[in-house]
Symmetry: C2
Subunit: 253 residues, 2 copies
DNA sequence: TGTACATCAGTGAACGCGCGTTCACTGATGTAC
DNA sequence: TGTACATCAGTGAACGCGCGTTCACTGATGTAC
């Protein structure tokens, strides 16, 4: 979604594409200093040596620039996760690699992480164009689950026994949750979901995947936003342990 | 920490205490509209019918007002969690009640949730006075774990076998993580921690508690910040299921 | 290849707005004798 | 109980700043004949 609509033919078009990119890059740099709220067209323009009104030739408003940054950020984590999980091999290893890639990306670009996974920007309403990019990470995880089920690599109660959980404390899905999970499962089973074979992932495994997903991002937010200060402060060891525990929990033995 | 230093004796002191509170309340209200970044002394003053400079008689700067709001928010969730977990009864039930109380508080006051658990406010450095209030929630959870261990209510690998994990995939603590957990354990064992009996909680159970804690807040952030849109959208059923799964994971059977 | 015209990037001034903070001041409330 | 003085809440003007966005304009780049 890097706005590379057509190959630029004229010098003018090349210059425009480059400046469009440079503006976004400078804006990304300024996110670090001031956060999404403090993102200022004027400051970006000044840093690029242009007058503030010139930016409007490239982005029709501040919110559009913000949207571009959000989409780029989702695409960047999404691509990092997809790439890490694309390697062949056991599903558990792919899952862990995905978690690590997301953490590496987040630590490298904490302000972009905050932009998409932190508190929403007040007054900003995310347009529909962000939905697709935002789905890349969760869909990549689903892809690993589908691979694990297809290859019979699932261990434990989740994928193996699609019925009621046999192990102690591993509750089966009931009521509203069962219905929601079934709906989600149905959506993923369709070819348009973009995850081939996702239909084989049983709903209860899907739910565990979502639990692991929320744990992953909760842990990253804790690390990046400073809630671990005083306890697991270099959080790397805790992170490794936690993703292992949750991979097991999901059924990737 | 509601700044009730002494009992107000004179009319002046009563008026001051009341206005101090009213300013904080109005500021809290405005958080909802504009977020922490947009919190404006001038807007608060205007809404209260006073001139902006008058606010400086009550809070020496905008950041001090923000700090007061942050401390109040931490104290409010902390109190809600403590109260929910104070009831006698099985540890599992207390744990779940704590999770539910935190969610109820968060849904009721999403902007205060975002203030303390969302992305940090750029340019704002949290003073030490926030540390104590911020610790109330995690310490309340540790209290439940301590109670469970003391009463022999622990099920599974965590508290029962303090050595290497016997169950598949339940990894024992090693290396840096083991050291960090032991340090934390030592700190909690001291009377000053404020959690009587916390010393009996084994390090691996502590680590699982932290995993559950991060899952809980990851899940809440997902719900409040809109990442569940299109999947588990009324998130209540998923929440109930997840906290049950994680209570089991922690060892509260 | 050369010329006439259209397109479009960038300028600079302006509009109207809100912000945090300071400061000298007025006038009401409290205290000490 | 009454008076003189000290304390302090709130005023209003000002400082200097930055913001998003609009608009008429200049001048360079591109296109069609």
């Amino acid at each position: 979604m890097m706005t590379t609509q057509n190959a630029p033919r004229t010098a003018r078009e090349r210059a425009r594409a480059e400046l469009t990119r440079e503006i976004a890059e400078e804006a990304r740099r300024q996110l670090a200093a001031s956060g999404a709220n403090g993102l200022s067209l004027r400051a970006v323009a000044k840093e690029l040596g242009m007058v503030s009104s010139a930016v409007y030739r490239y982005y029709p408003s501040r919110d559009d620039l913000l949207t571009a940054l959000i989409i780029d950020a989702y695409d960047a984590v999404g691509a990092a996760a997809e790439q890490a999980m694309a390697d062949p091999g056991p599903a558990r290893g792919r899952w862990l690699a995905g978690c690590r890639a997301i953490r590496a990306w987040a630590i490298d670009r904490p302000h972009e992480y905050a932009l998409i996974y932190g508190s929403p920007v007040p007054g900003y309403r995310a347009p529909e164009a962000t939905i697709g990019p935002a789905a890349r990470v969760p869909l990549a995880f689903v892809g690993v689950l589908a691979g694990a089920v297809a290859d019979g690599q699932v261990v434990g109660g989740a994928g193996a026994s699609t019925g009621a959980g046999a192990e102690p404390g591993r509750g089966a899905l009931t009521g509203e949750l069962a219905a929601q999970a079934a709906t989600l499962s149905g959506i993923l089973a369709q070819p348009e979901s973009g995850v081939p074979g996702a239909g084989v992932v049983p709903p209860d495994m899907l739910v565990r995947g979502v639990i692991a997903w929320t744990q992953l991002f909760g842990m990253l937010s804790w690390e990046l936003f400073g809630q671990f200060v005083g306890s697991f402060d270099p959080a790397g060891a805790f992170f490794e342990h936690a993703i292992g525990e949750l991979a097991t929990f999901v059924g990737l033995g």
